[in-house]
Symmetry: none
Amino acid sequence: MSLATILSLNQYNIVYNVLSFVIATMLAGFIGFLLIRSSLPAKHRNALTLGTLVMAIADYHYFRIFNSFTAAYHIVGGKYVPTGIPFNEAYRYVDWLLTVPLLLAELVTVLELTPKESKVLISKLVVASSLMIALGYPGQISPVHSTARTLWAAASSVFFVYILYVLFVEIQKSLDKQPEGVRPLMFTLRALLLLSWGFYPIAYILPSFVGGATGIVVSQVGYSIADVVAKPLFTYFVYKVSKLKAEVEEKEEADLRSSLAA
Amino acid sequence: MSLATILSLNQYNIVYNVLSFVIATMLAGFIGFLLIRSSLPAKHRNALTLGTLVMAIADYHYFRIFNSFTAAYHIVGGKYVPTGIPFNEAYRYVDWLLTVPLLLAELVTVLELTPKESKVLISKLVVASSLMIALGYPGQISPVHSTARTLWAAASSVFFVYILYVLFVEIQKSLDKQPEGVRPLMFTLRALLLLSWGFYPIAYILPSFVGGATGIVVSQVGYSIADVVAKPLFTYFVYKVSKLKAEVEEKEEADLRSSLAA
């Protein structure tokens, strides 16, 4: 989708401020996860290491998206008119190509799987997510309402649905193996995952229906909300799972030690 | 409030230098809190973790505010004349949307509450503060002296007063549970909170009375002072509370150990 559409002051400001909000949020997430990561026992830090990388990559890309958006418009007679410099929609796809596999690996890390099971699952998810994103991009830059856009979107969706199906099943299986107190958090994590992933196809498809300037605003705001839920908010809950597991283990160890001493 | 008003050299320089002062202060706060945070025992670091994030978010936004202010004016015949590029007042609101909940969580962390009480209180405060900020923004960008500005301000103020009332009551209740030496610090913290929060409505309302170029200076300087008191200064006192609590606990533990040994 190109941005060759005039935006009103309000429309431009909404996108501008939402993009800046995400830059600040990813920055805070990066620093916050870096700090709280070291409060966890070494063996429970892996998920948060991945989450910290996701924040850094996303913050970089949101800086680029913000700069690309501001360069694509200038104010003429009280409205924002395209400058002719294209808005680079590919930043989001390059971001996802890196962050989606990392986020999936982050989730797999807090499932109670054997190293071998984890490896198989991560491989499947990395391949599927790369295909989902690579097939989605040609659709994103095809004209709204074109057959090409619909076909690429459909091909991408196959992998989207496959990933959600695999994760749903794997989280379900892992629930029985999780310590008692961790289960409600895993339910929250699954709900967050479905919620945030559900936003992406909406932000992808909706511009085809609303179109024009409103389509641009809906798409940029939709992707931004989805990224905030799928990245910092999701990672925060992954942190809570890791922390709870560390506490459960510490308690078990203390109980064992006191029963040995008695 | 738009900035379509000519500023004298002095007026421009005051705002310019105050904004730069805040950038430097937030940067120093960020580094300082990052360093002293690690001097606290792990269980007392949470409040300072939140404070460190607040500094980073605020510093980012003050950079943006500074750049937006300088882009909004150019010098013509010895005066600063608007360039036509709008000054983005929304940066402050996006900043508050992120930092006010974090600052409230920072305060709740040093009150002696059970995890459940903390969770309930934080939820209440996050919802109320988001509504306060979201309702304040439309008023901020409405014309000075308009009915719209007054109505939005009034709606926002309801939540402002509610938050201060809840905090006043909760700090009062928590005072009895605090260790002896911590109480005077909690009084200081409460005074700082009321003082800094009191500045915001003044910076919001005063431009309606003084108007024009003076209004712009008063508003920008007022918000800047409020942000310095409410963020780095407030966090510094939160640090002192955390430190004192850690010392009291250490002393109690040492006493217990020596009484067991005797």
